[in-house]
Amino acid sequence: MTQALTALSRRRALLAGLGFGLTIDFLGRSAFAAAAGVGRRRLVVVICRGGMDGLSVSPPVGDPDYASLRGTIAIPPFGAPGGALKLDDTFGLHPALASVHALAQKGEARIAPAVATPDRERSHFEAQDVLENGATTAYGAETGWLNRALQAIGPTQVKAISVGPTAPLILRGPIEAASWSPGTGAERDPRLPGILQDLYADDPMLGKALASGLATEAMAKVATADAREALVQPDAMSGADGAMTAQADAGGAPLRPVLRQGLPIARRLGATLAGFMVQEGGPQVAAVSLDGFDTHANQGSSQGQLATRLAYLDAVLGGLAEGMGPVWKHTVVVAATEFGRTARVNGTAGTDHGTASTALLLGGALRRGGIVGDWPTLAPARLFENRDTFPTLDMRGLFKGLLAGHLGLDRRALDTAVFPGTAAVAPTAGVV
């Protein structure tokens, strides 16, 4: 790409001349800066840990082999009690994903039903590493691809935040990212932050974390106030009610009230994140982790263990969409998992580690369209190693497509810095 340097990248080039160094991010950043309106764009990556079962998230109830492979855990067909929420003739969404379905009907949510990272080992931990580090193998990179994407964009323009008390690999790296989780903020000794900042002068790890934490804390006061306001409206998406009757997996113990308490909290979490992201100078990029998708036994169908997790995911996504308000039309959200699960139900009414799964794509900035990538079908001969959904779409291509189309990263930065050595993996086109 040969775009003219913007004022900002010229300033960076100047700094480079003074010995501050300039990295490979140069092209990526200039491309980003040159793209009109990109400063308003927001990107949220939701990592669903544990191996989320794509065949339940977006059940292909129209696929002739689906019902027989899945047995008791199959999601019932469209229109049946607890049935899938229709997307097209083949695919629906899990009935617990009512908010996502409402967005899909407006053209603001799509599915990629057979996407996988390059990892084929079926180990949670390796596959999550690969999902987050953007390399071909676990331990293939020390930093996360989202952090490297920020480097490519330029640290002065885009801020990032992760939600949760620990820092996920996807955002780890030289560009400092904020982190936030509910519960900070009490009246305190006003001197202490300054004293500690002095103590941490020679401690980059603690020093950066403290500075970022203090800045985020100030922002959180505004964001949580916004979230309260956004959620005063009665819940318009109470269609997920079915999921609240989910059974916990221990001998069918009903935990309905616990879940009723959990879902509003999840919505508020999503809305609070949105509250951060809509603020002036707030983060444009966020990473959220949800765990609990490892459903080896009694995973349930339209109700049950997995339905409970999906209802939670739906509430976070619904709260996020609502809380973004007018910024939603500049937003893309992707929810992805490290691998899918076996196509066949296993011996304990669950599923074991598999290969391809579904990624959910949401946001007002999405292009309208059908499924992203090809559907390999569940025909016996098409199953990967005779057990899993066959991967037809490379996760890195999907992420590259989002970074290119939405945040304006150019191909060279994507192929070399963000997802090194992936020149052969084309960015997925037509998503944003």
Binding site: E121, T184, M205, H296, G347, T348, G350
Partner: protein, 462 residues
């Protein structure tokens, strides 16, 4: 290697132990290594409770609770809020176990032994994130882990793999051989198709023994899962000597010879799974995997390869004797480098803070919410891999703010009439830098002084 004895004491107490209590550094300075070695005892680790409830009792109690709740529900009893009932059970049982564990950690003078036990509890994670296992994590640690942490690894492996908590946590209890008698019986009765669950087999290879780089395949995992079929738990209505305990169910065992990582295992019921575990324990891959994890936990996220090699060598030379491996760790100069390369996890930070202030939390309310907020909910590691080791994970901005807030709260509760300068010398010893000492001496209040100590870079690491 001539390491200053006061610095050696500080390293022994913080890196190997759980953080110095007042007076401890002085006591151990004469012979820090000897202090550590003396804690390696064949009887294993200490028990947090003198007479802990067994996992069997807990499983039976949980069953009784479920029945009681069903009855209350059927009777339409308005007072039987199931959420309150389950919350009460978990608070009383699981909370009590956890508080006892914290109590041991904050008071023991054999804190290397306790850290070593905690390492193995995390290596063989059973998490309360699953309701079925929530009340038996404590008993699991007491029964399967603590007695075996200084013996042959194979014993520890078999004890944890066959414990009801692990069988439930990793879904082994219900796994049935597809060609077993039980499967055929269920088929004839038109029940759901019963079969294999490969969760435990996979994690036992990947996390507990040889590690993911050992070159095993999906076929090996499936074969191991077949070998483990029948490893189950006695039904809760069965007689007392069976109910809620490990039970091998021959009828659920997949018949036939198994081949795992190139070795053949003849048909042999429960012996087949034991034979696989024995070979896994003896594998050089396991020696390397464990050596790496021990070095990573005790010394650095990116541990010195020479230290890993020493631990690995001892493991292979002694048939996996964990007491000897611990002695090798204590003797290795690589483990005594002054630079602090481990950032404390929230649990380690809280425990070392309580030790420094010589207070013990008296109720779960002082422990659970704060750990939860820092991302380390009691007994609830997010996955079978256990809690992460990497400092970057725990040094997130949000978590650091929470550490500041908590340090202030602890100081507000425990500093009346005490000198923070003195506490700093007792807690950090030779690690107390002039800058930190000066900053504490200039604190406006005692409380501020203690918060500065707890948040100092040297206290946040080990």
């Amino acid at each position: 290697m001539a390491l200053d004895k006061n610095l050696a004491a500080a390293i022994a107490a913080t890196r190997f132990g759980l953080g110095a209590r007042p007076g401890q550094l002085e006591r151990i300075a004469a012979d820090p290594r000897g202090w550590l070695s003396s804690q390696i005892t064949a009887a294993g680790a200490d028990q947090p409770q003198p007479a802990p409830q067994s996992s069997q009792a807990r499983l039976l109690e949980f069953r009784a609770f479920q029945r009681q709740r069903q009855q209350a529900k059927a009777a339409g009893d308005p007072k039987s809020d199931p959420v309150k009932m389950v919350a009460k059970l978990l608070r009383r049982e699981t909370g009590g176990d956890f508080l006892a564990r914290v109590g041991l950690a904050t008071t023991t003078d054999a804190d290397f032994r306790e850290r070593w036990a905690l390492f193995w509890c995390n290596h063989f994670t059973v998490s309360a994130t699953k309701l079925q296992t929530a009340t038996i994590v404590g008993p699991f640690e007491a029964e399967a882990i603590r007695p075996n942490v200084f013996g042959p690894f194979e014993h520890l492996l078999v004890a944890s793999t066959s414990h009801p908590a692990m069988l439930l946590y990793l879904d082994q209890a219900q796994s049935i051989g597809p060609d077993s008698r039980a499967a055929m019986f269920l088929d004839r009765r038109g029940k759901r198709k019963a079969g294999l669950n490969e969760n435990l087999a996979r994690e036992a290879m990947e996390l507990h023994t040889v590690g993911v780089g050992a070159g095993y395949t999906q076929a090996d995992v499936t074969e191991f899962a077949r070998a483990l079929t029948g490893w189950s738990i006695g039904g809760l209505k069965a007689p007392d000597d069976i109910a809620g305990r490990f039970l091998f169910r021959p009828g659920a065992h997949e018949p036939g010879v198994r081949t795992i990582m190139g070795r053949r295992y003849p048909q042999g019921g429960m012996q087949q799974g034991l034979a696989v575990l024995k070979d896994l324990a003896a594998s050089p891959h396991t020696a390397h995997h464990l050596g790496f994890e021990i070095a990573r936990h005790f010394v650095a996220d990116d541990p010195p390869p020479t230290l890993v090699a020493k631990l690995e060598r001892t493991y292979l030379d002694t048939g996996g004797d964990l007491g000897d491996v611990a002695r090798t760790l204590v003797a290795a100069p690589e483990a005594w480098q002054p630079a602090q390369r481990k950032f404390k996890t929230p649990y380690e930070f809280l425990v070392s803070s309580w030790r420094a202030a010589s207070v013990s939390p008296q109720s779960l309310r002082e422990v659970a919410p704060v750990l939860n907020g820092m991302g380390q909910r009691p007994f609830s590691a997010p996955s079978p891999k256990g809690w992460p080791e990497a400092g970057e994970t725990w040094c997130a901005p949000d978590a650091v703010i929470k550490r500041v807030v908590w340090s202030e709260q602890l100081a507000a509760r425990s500093m009346r009439g005490r000198d923070p300068n003195e506490l700093a010398r007792e807690a950090l010893g030779a690690r107390l830098t002039p800058l930190v000492a000066k900053t504490i001496s200039r604190a406006e209040t005692r409380e501020e002084g203690l918060a500065i100590l707890l948040m100092s870079p040297e206290f946040q690491r080990r």
